[in-house]
Symmetry: C2
Subunit: 601 residues, 2 copies
Amino acid sequence: MSTCIATVCLSGSLTEKLTAASRAGFDGVEIFENDLLASPLTPEEIRARCADLGLSIDLYQPMRDIEAVPADEFTRNLRRARHKFELMRRLGADTVLVCSSVSPFALDDNDLAAEQLSRLADLAQEHDIRVAYEALAWGRHISTYDHAWNVVQTADHPALGTCLDSFHILSRDTDPKGIEDIPGEKVFFLQLADAPRLAMDVLQWSRHYRCFPGQGDFDIAGLLKQVLRTGHTGPLSLEVFNDVFRQAEAAPTAVDAHRSLLLLQENAGVAQLPAPAVPSGIAFAELATPDAQPITEVLSALGFARTARHRSKPVDLWQQGQARILVNTGTAARRESTALAAIGLESPAPAAAARRAEALLTPVLPRRRTPEDVPLDAVAAPDGTELFFCATGHPELPDWQNDFTFADEYVAAAARAASADEAALGRIDHLALTQPWHHFDEAILFHRGVLGLSPQESVDVADPYGLLRSRAVSTAEGAVRIVLTVGATPTDGDAPAQHIAVTTDDVVTAARRYRAAGGRLLPIPANYYDDLAARYALPAHELERYRELGILYDRGAGGAFRHCYTRTVGRLFFELFQRDPGYQGYGAQNAPVRLAAQHAA
Amino acid sequence: MSTCIATVCLSGSLTEKLTAASRAGFDGVEIFENDLLASPLTPEEIRARCADLGLSIDLYQPMRDIEAVPADEFTRNLRRARHKFELMRRLGADTVLVCSSVSPFALDDNDLAAEQLSRLADLAQEHDIRVAYEALAWGRHISTYDHAWNVVQTADHPALGTCLDSFHILSRDTDPKGIEDIPGEKVFFLQLADAPRLAMDVLQWSRHYRCFPGQGDFDIAGLLKQVLRTGHTGPLSLEVFNDVFRQAEAAPTAVDAHRSLLLLQENAGVAQLPAPAVPSGIAFAELATPDAQPITEVLSALGFARTARHRSKPVDLWQQGQARILVNTGTAARRESTALAAIGLESPAPAAAARRAEALLTPVLPRRRTPEDVPLDAVAAPDGTELFFCATGHPELPDWQNDFTFADEYVAAAARAASADEAALGRIDHLALTQPWHHFDEAILFHRGVLGLSPQESVDVADPYGLLRSRAVSTAEGAVRIVLTVGATPTDGDAPAQHIAVTTDDVVTAARRYRAAGGRLLPIPANYYDDLAARYALPAHELERYRELGILYDRGAGGAFRHCYTRTVGRLFFELFQRDPGYQGYGAQNAPVRLAAQHAA
């Protein structure tokens, strides 16, 4: 189906918005009146620009408070409409949106509404224009889609149809079943917006918190199926008012928007995408650093051993159990300080995973950097992290390890160190990545839609300098877990903190060894342990060990959880992490204390 | 009355919070458990730090989900309480807050709640501690102050009383009348928070949108009077959860907080402040600039004449009608680019106005910079703008003009230019100032409480790169009007735009003259005028003039409004402004077009 986006969804001047929509692959746009008024281009120039960009103008939005008004006001409205219809001819737009009146002077009179809409449609028809009438959820008298359709039926005019808007329908919990009774040719337009379920005034909710399909709580795919059963074939058009998107750069927002429509069509069963190949583990985490010394000190102290070196690039593999860290000191390292640059996702079908990512507008990275490299499929996540779809030790798949020369003695040493040692680090439990502030919703949708990970509940975490939002995405069994966070304000993303949590079955011993090897643990205040004693009847010696090492503890429904933190190198720190089998969380309860300790460190 | 603030109101570490509270003049603090847990100081050290800072610890907040629970859970709760009471002894805090249970396991059993609270109070009494029981608005079974008081009455324990919280009471629209039936000695604590009226889930509303008294829509003074009628004499304590305050610097937030309590006491009639001396006009606007050339070019083109020079400083007075602009090129100019540095407020009682400002914690500026200057009372507004309380031509008051040497020929020329000329600029209609993002609520309260200006409704204005908030404060007759705005994100305040709107009775002629004199007007897109033609039946020649000059037009309930803008110099631009007598607004309808035009310029 063709796709369309309202200019109000994107930031910037009208031409910035149009360019972003075109580059992201949209077929058309809805032009909001304010964007046109503020543009120095004439309607003819806007029309030409859209044509150059391959965009149709599917809708124009200038009409408010038109119908069910006293006669003299309606005369003024018709006068205004004539001007707008002439403008639309210049613009090359053939459908105009009319929202149900919110005017305090509007009358509760369906027949009058139908009659005046019919007269408006007469005028529209003279200009070859169609009028799409939509019920605003906060309309003065007409606020449901079935009521609006009822008025359109009464008017019974060929140039008058209805516009369906998912937000207005689903925010009011109207039963959308009745949509199927509307003939498809009378659905003149379809606007789509999702939203988180918020218990708040519907007007404020609509104006500030709409989001793209799949980013909120509405069943947009279900609604779309119902609309398609009417026989409607028009574009899928996004109309999203969102305070964050208004501030964000238009280009990535447009990509996010278009991706949401592709996923929506897949969910509704009207388009096929390459099937997801859900990752089955984290093959490696790759750190880029301008100076390997500090981070390899931490890795050594944690018990990692350097087991291999890349054959053509300055990249070392550090390994312990199934936890693999690549340390890249090459010029490819984009970051200024030590940071996580790439994640190797163990994939059952790397090529298929990359095809899906590409179909979902994800930038694809070169398959091989040098001719002798293993051809690995890689894409860029919204925060710039490179994601490699790869395999470890599967003969039928390209194995990333083939790029590395393993030193036998190191491998043997690493194996010895790890074998039958409960305190050894086993694997990467999760990665925590701060996302760009304006693209948090995009990041969640990306990880869900492109990678096939499931988002958990969003939680607020109190940092001493503001509330952070945090949301984990993971596979069903937790083989891949990524915690996406976003700071309190846009500028908090300037130097995002990241961390790698590595599992151990004995965090006390692991922490002691790390310290004995010269590693520094994040100190946790004594008051925290006094509180722990008040909350749980932990044996005194156990509590004493936690206090000594700065180990945090918590208990959830599924079991207990113990963890501690290394010092930060660049933007990165490590977490040692002992999880009872039933515990599914990430220790958010302890995050405020950890964050305060990091600020104080 | 003594004043207190909860540590959760302020950002930073516990010691940052305590220091800010002390410096702002608070007598005590409520310590939130998380702030203590995250602090490296022992309870004894915290106690000593508070004593050093002159702060009492009026309340400790560690208790949740205590009462009306099954016996084994209550046993665990008592165990935990014992730890906390011991901690409170170390801390030197004698009152603990217990919020009504939100646990899904809590039972709907008043007698059980009373019995368990009574047992908790037994334990508290052993530690010389009092338990203040408060109904959370979202409590599982107990959610109103009268219900909580009923349980306290049933328990009838000397160490158990109630805590009243204005948010929990007023957010639920509970009738606060019943408060007066509670004996004052059983009101163990009083927490105050205001909030804007928001139709949203009360828990989210409380956690993110509380504000200081006078910054929201609740009648906190009315509630306070009712509480005082009980005979309660305890501290007035602020407990405000606010996402913005959490991010803001602690020091100014604490000042804002304390100011709100001073104003609250004045409103409730329990404390006297120097009475407000509401300004009666704008005597002058003072611009600081590193280079006077560009701005004086604009002033000249606007028809201002240089009429006087400061006797001891590099400050010129530019004048037209009653509009007076000082151009300061001295080293005192703090700003890096041309910006509004000070406002002269015509005051009926300058000294009294300054005394009130000082009593309300406003930084007072030196009365005279050099020995020969007129002693002018001046203070600093929250955004750093200097406010001079002054008089123009009142022999009984210190006249700021006495610092200036007037050149007769200039004065005469200025008078000739202005006399009987409808297009001449008459006076400063309003000043528009972008406020620091984290201190917008503070700025509103400052202008209302300190200066005696009345805030109008807050409006959202769509900028191409985000929504701006704007709120005007003014005197009843509009002699002083200041429009306070705040950008979409915290960083937007880095280079705040400011403007000075000057009245004319003939904006078309004034704009033409400005252009003829070499001034550049902000160009407005032609599409705007096509829309104007659609909206209003303006005569074609009138519309043509507006189009030619970039004059914006709108009509409100009270009349019409015409305005246009100069180019921006540094951070500053001018608005030429023709207001029908009945029009009370600031042309917010046109702001999106103006903002887009400025971005494009």
